[in-house]
Amino acid sequence: MSIEIIGVSKTFNRFKALSNVNFKVETGELVSLLGPSGCGKTTLLRVIAGMEAADPGSGPILFDGHDVTCQEVGKRRIGFVFQSYALFKHMSVFENVAFGLRAKPWRQRPREAEIRAKVGELLQLVQLQNFAQRYPSQLSGGQRQRVALARALAVEPSVLLLDEPFGALDATVRRELRRWLRKLHSKIHVTTILVTHDQEEALEVSDRVAVMNEGRIEQFASPETIYDNPANPFVFKFLGSYNLFHGRKPNGSTAVAASPSSANGVTFVRPHDVEIRRENTDGSGIAAKISHIAFAGSSVNVELARIDDQAVVDAALSMHAYKDLGLKPDDKVFIRLRNTRSFDDDYVI
């Protein structure tokens, strides 16, 4: 089912959580809403689910072209997964998953045998077939999250809405579940919207990512586009570490290869796009002094200070490059910048 949101706003006590959001998710897509906390991503998800009403007068929410703005949460055929899992504590895993089936009006309610078969199938899908009689308190966080997912899928929703589904889990389990979710999605192909504040998660899992800030969608595109072609400084800054260069240098020497047209513009470079050289062979390098070296597993983070204005530049080198160069603190080197992105000053963060 496709989801379309046209001009939706939401205000809480004068605080504008969503301002005029337009957004369309195609059938079968897995879309992430990515942004810092308080940017309105969860509000947007809850508005789509029908748990929050959008401001009166603000635009319709269309499911497959049908207006569902005034439809109750139970009628929208959504599967919602909460960050807190919101499992029913006093029910076994089996009963949790069966809840949606048992709650159907008795005409549509499947027979007990059908419920058993369906729940068994879903538990198989989330790899918890041996845990049916356990209670939520006897499961680990990752298992609970999978139960929550199975419970949401039991009612055969046409949209799956996940609110920071892996937020409360530790890094390894997160990575595992992320991959599992991707696999699951390619198996069942239900339109899915995932809310997260973790860029790595959003980029890895989704077909498209909507980066949100202060109640607006800053950019909605594929992960590659978002990363390689960020629409504005906010998106660039949000998707990882960066170096920032302000405008042209007053002494006339250009700060970087592609500097912005106006004096107030900014240029961004990712640390891994900062190249360190011993020799300034073609004269385009910027002289800098190494002030600190930190190991980060597979790569090495080098902190440099520019000779001309003492501005700090971060560089990330592969272990190989680092060893080849034989860098030591206080070494004088030259840096070159690849893949710089410049933005003019009309954009205020």
Partner: protein
């Protein structure tokens, strides 16, 4: 539970890490607590029972059942007077027990409904005046019960604000409901007795009791429901459950122990309430609840009988206490498994 693999060793009463204190401090604080409890609770309760049984078990029983003389025995006029007075005393005591139970049977269910509604509205919704509402729920705790009784007298008494309406109100006695059959009308039940007016009738006692006890259920539910949030309810709704089903299968099971705890406290207070009930009862024998009956017996210098009825109340309190401890253990366990779960990998 000790063998469970997911048991968190830092949880539970004895395993909790204690702050470093001097052993003397610990001994002194424990001694003070024990001494205080003995002086103010254990000694008075023991005294109640010893006074009640001071004239032997037969005297204890005769407060409830006046002993009948042997068949065909000749009674002197004095003995006969004594017997009939004993019988009427026992009948009054039974009437007070019946009334107390009846009031509790009316007040406690009403307070359950009210307490659930109040706790639900205050914890699941955010609205203007919410904190004011919470304060109002607590009001009966801070108002003297005598004042509470007086409020009803001043509202519903003969010269009260609603006096003219209230003193002419005729309402059937719910305990006089009986089967009449279909002969007279299609409705087979009828009341044989009715009351006129509100003040100085059991209705006023019920009203005063409701006022005094309504915070108990709400108060025991609010902290729990507040901490649980409404995610589970929203989840149930999003799965297509109706509001009633959500309440019945999700909300109620989550709060059942806290609810039972509130009901226990509420019941204990209804049984024991004196001040508010005393003001609105009119001091007629028919309107005596157990505490009022105790006072009357005491004023008639019938100490042993007074303590006997008091011992019955104390017994109820002990039963309540036992149930309360069981429930607390249950809720404690529930809270514990929840915390355990969070700590799990």
């Amino acid at each position: 539970m000790a063998g469970a693999p997911h048991q968190n060793p830092t949880m539970g009463g004895t395993g909790k890490p204690a702050p470093p204190t001097h052993p003397l401090v610990r001994r002194v604080t424990i001694a003070v607590t024990v001494l205080f409890l003995s002086v103010f609770i254990v000694v008075p309760v023991v005294n109640v029972f010893s006074q009640a049984l001071s004239k032997g078990f037969d005297a204890y029983a005769s407060v409830f059942y006046a002993a009948s003389p042997p068949e065909g025995a000749k009674l002197s006029p004095a003995e006969r007077r004594k017997l009939s007075s004993d019988r009427s005393q026992a009948e009054k005591t039974w009437s007070s027990i019946r009334l107390t139970m009846g009031i509790a049977a009316v007040v406690v269910p009403l307070n359950i409904v009210f307490g659930l509604a109040a706790a639900w509205s205050v914890t699941k919704f955010r609205f203007k005046g919410r904190s004011l509402l919470i304060t109002l729920i607590d009001l009966p705790f801070s108002v003297s019960p005598v004042i509470a009784g007086l409020i009803f007298v001043l509202l519903l008494g003969r010269s009260g604000v609603f006096g003219p309406w209230a003193s002419n109100l005729t309402w059937p006695d719910p305990f006089s409901l009986h089967w009449r059959g279909f002969a007279q009308e299609w409705w087979p039940f009828a009341f044989t007795q009715s009351f006129t007016g509100i003040i100085f009738t059991p209705l006023a006692i019920a009203l005063a009791s409701i006022f005094v006890t309504f915070p108990f259920v709400a108060r025991s539910l609010i902290p729990l429901m507040d901490s649980q949030g409404s995610d589970e309810e929203v989840a149930a709704l999003s799965l297509g459950a109706s509001g009633w089903r959500t309440f019945r299968t999700v909300t109620l099971p989550n709060v059942k122990w806290a609810l039972l705890y509130g009901v226990i406290l509420c019941t204990a207070r209804v049984f024991g309430e004196f001040g508010a009930v005393s003001v609105v009862s009119g001091h007629t024998d028919a309107n005596d609840t157990m505490p009022l009956r105790i006072e009357k017996l005491w004023n008639e210098y019938n100490n042993q009988a007074a303590f006997t009825v008091a011992s019955l109340l104390a017994l109820l309190a002990v039963v309540t206490l036992v149930v309360q401890v069981l429930v607390e253990r249950k809720t404690g366990k529930a809270a514990m498994t929840e915390v355990e779960g969070v700590d799990m990998p």
